[in-house]
């Protein structure tokens, strides 16, 4: 018998590749190879050049994202495993912009330190590439590969300051819990694959609507997969790595992890839950309910007693993830179908990205003078840096959800989803979320009180010098936060777009 009979018989035909659909990723790959080569050739002499190249590369990758958005067609490749639709494009845009802002934050931070820069940008670009792939992945294998591509560089970036013990600890905790979570997620995926015999999410989705979907093994698989991603989005009780990693990592990377990496986890969860596990809302809905309630409450309560601003923002970002989980917890009860929960989540994520990146940019700017992360060191900031004080007030009050700054609109759409669901459980969750918003206001406002009302702790009122990159990042985030707050239609439109076209 011919060896080549059976499934591999015949001439190998290369699959058709839609280069336009892959263009953003291809541009990014080209740039990150270029960054590596330029850094190798110049041996540290072209430090600025490498950073500039990486920044331009991120903006260049934005071009095909825009042309694809103008084109508007849904492109499905590799048997439905890789899809470029409006949902994917909205998030690719978010990841590129978040990556670019991180780049702006990093350039001066790195120049002050005595560490190599080339690899830093290479790793950052790799992580962004993983997120871009994640936004399009509609298959268990590609989701797994994208998750690793975004995580492994992030582990290394978290420990960038090699000789700093806190940096070591940050990367160790992030790595061990991250890898453990990946293992649990993979075990869940293997169970789901075992029952359905499919890896493409749409196929899994249709199998899980039919007979055999109610097997306990499927429930177990879904629970494991969600637990795996709960680590990524730092949902309580899987959040323990987040504050330590955020504190020990370089601050630009903290900003990147708290925004882009978290968004990556949410993108994967949305794809898995709303395409693959749609038929089993009896499993994931109560689970998300508990996760959301715990995440908001624990995050906010621990944030109350933090004295370090980075740790406070870390717990605040844990709590914010709780608000973002709310639509998941009621998705199955929505009259317009579970897909209606995706718009609010996307909207919240986009707004959160702007205000949280801004807050971390400001922490970086102030730390250039005070060399401290204590909230007490913000005392009297208004006396010597009124501009920064106003900006920080914008960011913290936006995070607290005070109109007319961006955050209120995110909260509004999320609460509206809870009311649309109109079940007793949804109302209870809404009450918990409302109480939490009040608790959160206390610690956000205490930062503002420190800046506006307290005296300068050491009497040193020399002005803070903010480098150009940081200024650009700050103004970008501040403008986005304020504009979204005043004209929320801007992000609402993106939220409406980001619904899968293939939902039943």
């Amino acid at each position: 018998m011919d060896v080549l009979s059976g499934p591999v018989a015949g001439v190998f035909r290369a699959p058709d590749v839609d280069y336009h659909a892959f263009a953003p990723e291809l541009v990014l790959v080209a740039v990150l190879v270029a960054v590596l080569v330029v850094d190798l050739v110049l041996e540290g002499r072209g430090r600025r050049l490498v950073g500039g190249l990486a920044g331009i590369g991120l903006l260049a990758a934005m071009v095909p994202v825009l042309t694809l958005a103008v084109d508007g067609a849904n492109r499905s490749m590799v048997g439905g495993a890789y899809v470029v639709d409006d949902f994917a494009l909205v998030f690719k845009g978010l990841f590129l912009i978040a990556g670019y802002v991180t780049m702006l934050l990093s350039s001066d931070y790195l120049a002050d330190d005595d560490y190599y820069e080339g690899e830093y940008y290479f790793l950052l670009l790799s992580s962004v590439l993983g997120m871009m792939v994640m936004a399009s992945s509609r298959d268990l294998i590609s989701i797994f590969v994208a998750l690793e591509l975004l995580s492994i560089p992030a582990y290394m970036l978290a420990g960038w300051r090699k000789r700093d013990l806190k940096g070591n600890e940050a990367t160790l905790k992030y790595y061990l819990l991250g890898v453990f979570a990946t293992g649990v997620m993979l075990y869940g995926m293997s169970l789901i694959f075992g029952i359905t015999g499919e890896t493409v999410l749409t196929e899994i989705g249709s199998k899980l609507q039919g007979p055999g979907a109610s097997l306990p093994l499927v429930s177990l698989g879904i629970v494991f997969v969600i637990v795996g991603f709960a680590f990524k989005i730092s949902a309580v009780p899987f959040h323990s790595w987040a504050p330590d990693t955020y504190e020990g990592a370089p601050t630009p990377i903290t900003a990147f992890l708290s925004v882009a990496s978290k968004a990556g986890g949410f993108v994967a969860l949305m794809q898995l839950v709303f395409i693959g596990f749609l038929g089993r809302d009896d499993v994931w809905q109560p689970m998300f309910w508990v996760l959301a309630a715990l995440t908001m409450t624990v995050g906010n309560l621990i944030a109350l007693r933090q004295t370090n601003i980075v740790r406070m923002l870390a717990y605040s970002s844990v709590a914010q993830a709780g608000y973002m989980l709310l639509p998941f917890a009621v998705a199955g009860d929505l009259a317009k179908g579970p897909g209606a929960a995706m718009g609010p989540m996307t909207t919240y994520l986009l707004i959160y990205a702007a205000m949280n990146l801004g807050a971390f940019a400001l922490v970086l700017a102030v730390a250039r003078k005070t060399r401290s992360g204590e909230i007490a060191s913000y005392g009297g900031l208004f006396e010597y840096a009124p501009g920064l004080t106003v900006l920080m007030s914008i960011f913290v009050f936006a995070l607290a959800g005070i109109p007319p700054l961006g955050g209120w609109y995110g909260k509004l759409v999320v609460f509206k989803t809870l009311l649309d669901a109109n079940t007793p459980w949804a109302i209870v969750l809404g009450v918990i979320a409302a109480v939490n918003s009040v608790i959160a206001l206390y610690y956000y406002a205490s930062v503002a009180r420190e800046m506006w009302m307290r005296p300068v702790p050491d009497g040193d009122t020399t002005p803070v010098r903010v480098p150009a990159g940081l200024t650009a990042a700050l103004s970008l985030c501040a403008v986005a936060t304020v504009v979204i707050g005043v004209y929320p239609q801007v992000v609402a439109r993106f939220g409406d777009l980001a619904v899968f076209s293939l939902l039943p």
Binding site: I152, V179, F193, E198
Partner: protein
């Protein structure tokens, strides 16, 4: 049925791995426990793949190959981190890495 035995082996390996991650205090042993979890995944995938027929078998083997490859990359980074900790502290005991309390 034969499938059950493979799944049982997978489950035992997975549980051993989870126990190791939670109970072991030596960073290298924790890395080994994570490897056990990933191997449990591979056994599951291959056993299920063989059950579902040819197309699923190919998918499962591709999946398992990806898991093996990525796990190698992951452990590479993990050992580098452990080495870093050892250089700075001359110990890989995880209980001693507690400058910050989550």
């Amino acid at each position: 049925m034969l499938l059950n035995q493979f799944l049982l082996l997978g489950a035992v390996l997975f549980c051993t791995g989870v126990y190791g991650v939670l109970a072991r205090r030596n960073a290298v042993l924790v890395l080994m426990s994570i490897e056990l979890i990933l191997n449990a995944v591979n056994i599951n995938l291959l056993a299920f793949g063989a059950m579902h027929g040819e197309a699923a078998a190919v998918a499962s083997q591709v999946f398992a190959l990806f898991v093996i490859t990525v796990a190698a990359a992951e452990v590479g980074v993990g050992l580098a981190i452990v080495l870093l900790i050892y250089r700075n502290r001359t110990s890989v005991d995880l209980d001693q890495v507690d400058l910050m309390r989550g």
